[in-house]
């Protein structure tokens, strides 16, 4: 057992650190959920691509560096510690790309992967439907065969579609076999956001941002070339994404380590007023360390050919609760100034904005209730309730 890095790995991390120090914008970009902010984040993706840092784990032909898992985690750690912007390309790079690599056609990979890395192709995800919530399989949007044009016609409604307002393309599941129930008869589609028949309605959020949207589909045509995996096989195809969303790729440990470091700095400047926050600050640091080390354990498991499976649920509950506790501690330290929304020169910095984001953590990517069911049933082997409820 060791945490030793090879010389190559150390050099890789040093290269990333140096590049980020040189290139990360000194002032934070405006929120990616505004038009100007979206454009600024797109530019940042292009800059990343220039340095070939967009998707380090991808093959070089698609803009990556063929980096291993260890390097990928090292990069993420450097990325967040550098204060670099949140990735507007995340839906594509973290959620869609792993599926394209596994189930996509060569044509799909060639058309989409490179464009994802330089910011020219940003994806919206279209998982949820109104009224479905965590029950992702209760999909009512339909895909009807159009043999004449060699494709499908999408109809129905999706919601909580992230990045949808300014994204270029979207991906999601539609029911292609109207007779099939739940997980069966679904097909995975890729579609342009400006397709005729597709209407995007932004959803304003608690924190004032509008990054999510409702999507209305009226006979939106998708050619066969943009079906991902086999028709009817959508659920199985999508589940590798869901595993990813909950697993390593959604929350790199660097994010929490960097936030814990900022919290320690904040505490340093507020310690006189509030010595009693010590334990909460220390606990945030301990937990971010635990998350960092746990991730190395996961990397080791994956390198040995193991898989994460239901461990992803343990992970999700842990980081989402850590994220809230860490930000609540910061708000406590800030006192009455905590109430102010962030902006240049505001006393509380961006802590309140980040807090508002954190409280959505236990809801999205599978509520923490669903995750705890999965932990209890799949990891601990407890019986399912006889009440027809499903763990996921």
């Amino acid at each position: 057992m060791n945490l030793d890095l090879t010389e190559e790995q150390q050099a890789f991390a040093a290269e990333a650190r140096a590049w980020l120090a040189e290139n990360v914008p000194s002032a934070p970009l405006p929120s990616m959920d505004t038009e100007a902010g979206f454009a600024a984040h797109r530019e940042w993706e292009a800059k990343l691509a220039e340095g070939r840092w967009s998707a380090v784990a991808w093959p070089e032909e698609f803009g990556g560096r063929s980096a291993g898992l260890v390097e990928w985690v090292l990069f993420e750690e450097e990325y967040y510690r550098s204060g670099a912007p949140t990735r507007v390309a995340q839906n594509g790079i973290s959620l869609l790309a792993p599926i394209l690599f596994e189930h996509g056609t060569d044509d799909q990979r060639n058309r989409y992967l490179n464009a994802m890395t330089d910011g020219s192709l940003i994806w919206a995800q279209a998982w949820s439907e109104p009224g479905a919530g965590s029950d992702l399989a209760s999909i009512r949007s339909t895909a009807r065969r159009d043999d004449e044009r060699g494709g499908w016609l999408l109809n129905g409604q999706k919601t909580w579609s992230s990045r949808a307002v300014w994204a270029d393309r979207g991906f999601g599941l539609f029911r292609s076999d109207p007779a099939a129930q739940r997980h069966r008869g679904l097909t995975y589609f890729l579609f342009p956001m400006d397709a005729p028949g597709l209407t995007v309605r932004p959803i304003a959020q608690l924190d004032g941002s509008t990054g999510f949207a409702e999507l209305f589909f009226e006979d939106v045509f998708v050619p066969d070339a943009d079906v991902l995996g086999a028709p009817g096989d959508g659920w199985r195809v999508a589940m590798s994404t869901a595993g990813n969303e909950r697993g390593l790729s959604l929350r790199a440990p660097g994010r929490f380590c960097a936030a814990a470091d900022r919290l320690i700095d904040l505490w340093g400047t507020h310690q006189q007023e509030d010595p009693f926050a010590q334990d909460a600050v220390v606990d945030a640091w301990i937990k971010s360390e635990a998350y960092r080390l746990y991730t190395w354990g996961t990397v080791s498991t994956l390198q040995d050919g193991g898989d994460i499976g239901a461990e992803g649920s343990v992970n999700k509950v842990f980081w989402s609760e850590l994220d809230i506790a860490l930000h609540e501690t910061a708000l406590d330290l800030l006192g009455p100034a905590a109430e102010l929304r962030g902006g240049p020169g505001v006393a509380g910095g961006r802590w309140m904005d980040d807090y508002l984001f954190s409280i959505s953590g236990p809801i999205y990517a599978g509520t923490n209730e669903i995750q705890r069911n999965i932990i209890a049933e799949r990891l601990l082997g407890l019986p399912r309730g006889g009440d027809g409820r499903r763990a996921s």
Partner: protein
């Protein structure tokens, strides 16, 4: 010994509910957040007519001669409906501190007053919507001018730094302390009202919303979270009333602090659970839930943070504490 609301107090609560609901309920907060203060100020006038701003001011001073319990009852309703505006400042903090001419303006609703209390309340609420700003010092009161408004997490709240202008009026320290504690009590009552409303909204939603083919309120995990909110609110309420009875007495300070801590904790738990029960829909601006979630977050730090009040209690329980 009768530790329960009187019929008059229950009627007061009902009267407030009716007026606020007739004025549009949560729509008042929404328009206020968008910068249109007209419906909010119209409601302000109606509540002035009811006597809200002189609720626990002596009748000789033009008030209703009520008690701090009446004040708590009224402010719980304001929190329940997420009513916007500097009510704490105008109805709880200032009436006994300002001179009679200002006071009469406050009482009849013609004067919307706000204030900062340096060290405790550094930013004044809704200075732009108000007609007078004050800085309340430890033993003084000054007129003030307001800086530009900054955005709060609660979109109905605009916060400004104040600069004292003109001469100070000297005040008794004890009078200032009492007024600040009364304002803190009002804030605690608002938190309790917001917490009760959050629980109500979550329970209603849990009864109708289905997941995996059943009402989510049937699932034990959500049930128990909601039960914990009920417990927290149920035990915060007697602390609020106890503080109202103690206000101005020897145990007033620690009782008010206990009420602020407990109502804040309970309301914060209510906000977290209500959001969890609603899921993503509760996180949208279209849904009213965010009005109380953000209000609770804002009020947690207003009129003394939990840190401030816990340390005040500690110093009163054990004088050697810091």
């Amino acid at each position: 010994m009768k530790f329960a609301l009187s019929e008059e107090q229950q009627s007061l609560a009902e009267a407030l509910d009716e007026i606020i609901e007739s004025a549009g309920g949560t729509k008042v907060a929404r328009t206020w957040a968008e910068g249109n203060t007209e419906p909010g100020l119209a409601l302000w006038s109606q509540l002035a007519e009811l006597g809200l701003f002189g609720l626990c001011l002596a009748e000789d001073d033009g008030g209703m001669g009520g008690t701090a319990v009446d004040l708590a009852v009224a402010f719980e309703r304001l929190g329940y409906h997420a009513v916007p505006g500097p009510y704490i400042e105008s109805a709880a903090l200032l009436p006994e501190l300002v001179d009679p001419s200002v006071r009469s303006g406050i009482l009849d609703g013609s004067l919307v007053a706000t204030a900062a209390v340096p060290g405790l309340v550094p930013y004044a609420l809704d200075a732009a919507a108000g007609s007078r700003c004050f800085v309340v010092g430890p033993d003084s009161l000054s007129d003030a001018s307001a800086g530009p408004g900054a955005a709060s997490v609660d979109r109905t709240r605009k916060l400004s730094e104040l600069t004292a202008v003109g001469s100070e009026t000297a005040l008794q320290t004890a009078a200032v302390d009492l007024a600040v504690d009364r304002a803190t009590l009002a804030c605690s009552a608002m938190l309790l009202g917001a917490g009760e409303r959050l629980l109500e909204e979550a329970v209603s939603y849990a009864k109708i919303r289905e997941q995996f083919g059943r009402a989510i309120g049937e699932y034990q995990a959500l049930k128990h979270q909601l039960a914990d909110v009920r417990i927290a609110l149920t035990f915060a309420r007697p602390l609020l009333y106890g503080a109202a009875l103690d206000l101005g007495g020897p145990d007033g300070a620690r009782s008010v602090s206990a009420a602020k801590v407990a109502t804040g904790d309970a309301a914060n738990l209510a906000a977290r659970v209500a959001l969890q029960v609603h899921g993503a829909i509760g996180y949208t601006e279209e849904h009213d839930l965010g009005l109380w979630i953000t209000r609770v977050r804002a009020l947690l730090g207003a009129w003394g943070t939990p840190r401030h009040h816990r340390s005040r209690i500690a110093s009163l329980l054990l004088p050697a504490a810091r």
